[in-house]
């Protein structure tokens, strides 16, 4: 492995969050294209030798992570920081923000039919959602959108990777309604 590749591996191993190609380039004083090429080589090398870790692209950056096959082993290991669960209300609120952003709180509440203040506060506090601007409407309400943290936590590269409900499922719903 090249010296740069080894340094990249060290940086990714030590970092608790995803690192972008640009960030890594700055840290390692190397051109971004070169960094991206080395990252690809690093990821391919892990795949080739069936390594226990994988290089994943999430939220516009790169993370070194374990593979799902070893979930049970790690669970038995214990003592690993587990992230706190998200409540159903928070998950629904997050779904509205993620799929329809940017949205105001009033829009959120209309869609869910209930108040969203608590769920929204949780999501803001956990860095999944942030204020992205204000709507040009009476009262200039705050608009909310998802963060990079959200993409990372859900293993998504970008919003384009948000899963869509199956078309058949949607059709079925419509038939039921009619």
């Amino acid at each position: 492995m090249s010296e740069l590749g080894a340094a990249l591996e060290a940086a990714l191993f030590a970092s608790p969050r995803a690192l972008t190609g640009a960030e890594l380039g700055r840290v390692l004083d190397a051109p971004e294209e070169l960094v991206e090429r080395e990252l690809a080589a690093l990821g391919a090398a892990y795949e080739r030798r069936g390594a226990g870790v994988q290089l994943r692209r999430v939220g516009g950056g790169w993370r070194l992570m374990t593979r799902p096959e070893h979930a049970q082993v790690l669970a038995r290991l214990g003592g690993l920081a587990r992230r706190a669960a998200l409540s159903r209300a928070a998950m629904e609120t997050l779904a509205v923000v993620a799929y329809r952003q940017p949205v105001t709180r009033a829009q959120l509440e209309e869609l869910r039919g209930v108040g969203c203040e608590g769920a929204l506060a949780t999501l803001l506090e956990r860095g999944m959602v942030e204020e992205v601007g204000r709507k040009e409407a009476p009262g200039r309400p705050v608009l909310y959108g998802t963060t990079r943290e959200f993409l990372t936590a859900f293993g998504l590269r970008d919003l384009g990777e948000l899963p869509e409900p199956e078309a058949e499922e949607l059709l079925q719903e419509r038939l039921e309604l009619e």
């Binding site: 608790p16 992230r83 706190a84 629904e92 869609l111 948000l162 409900p165």
Partner: protein, 229 residues
Amino acid sequence: MNYRVRLEVFEGPLDLLLYLVEEAQLDIHEVSLVRVTDQFLEYLAATHDVEQASRFLVVAAQLMAIKARSLLPLPQAPSPREQEDPGPGLARRLAEYRQVRRQADLLATLWARESFLYPAPDRTEGAVQAPPVRGTAAALARAMAWVLGRAEVAVSVPQVPISVTERLAALRDALEGRGRFVFQEVMGRGRGCVVGSFLALLELWRTGEAEVRQEEPFGAIQVWREEGA
């Protein structure tokens, strides 16, 4: 609802009145909500029928909402379906909510999948770090007592009384002195003062002391003395 409303344009149960207004068979502008409310208060004073009162509130609030909506200038035509036909609107909202639920399911699946990958995304970044706990409840109580002892407990919320009578006098002065003025120049500063001035303006208009005109929403409000007053 056995309570009945009596108006020039309508006589009968209140919920029937709401129904007719909603179905646009009765013009909301023809319905005096003040009259409706006054009548009900009389009824309530006579019967103490609290159960009717809560039902009255619901229906009256809906009437009020319809009337308020019809009085407000709308920036663009509201989608007519939403206003006139609650049936499809409700079905659409239900469908939208189902979609939200399904999307939440999909997110939950992703979340579960990611939950078994390590290291977990760092959640401490930017969060408040819990201080190391080395103490007892008694020590905490002592510390709290010390803090409270030092704190100045002097909270006063200044209240600036705004009297509509006073604002009315100010508007009358402007009317006397200038004969014509723009409301925004006289209304004063601060929310309370503006509200008081506006109530005073309505009063001037109601008594016929002044003519009021606003050419466009949020535009200047012209106020001038009524001819011959």
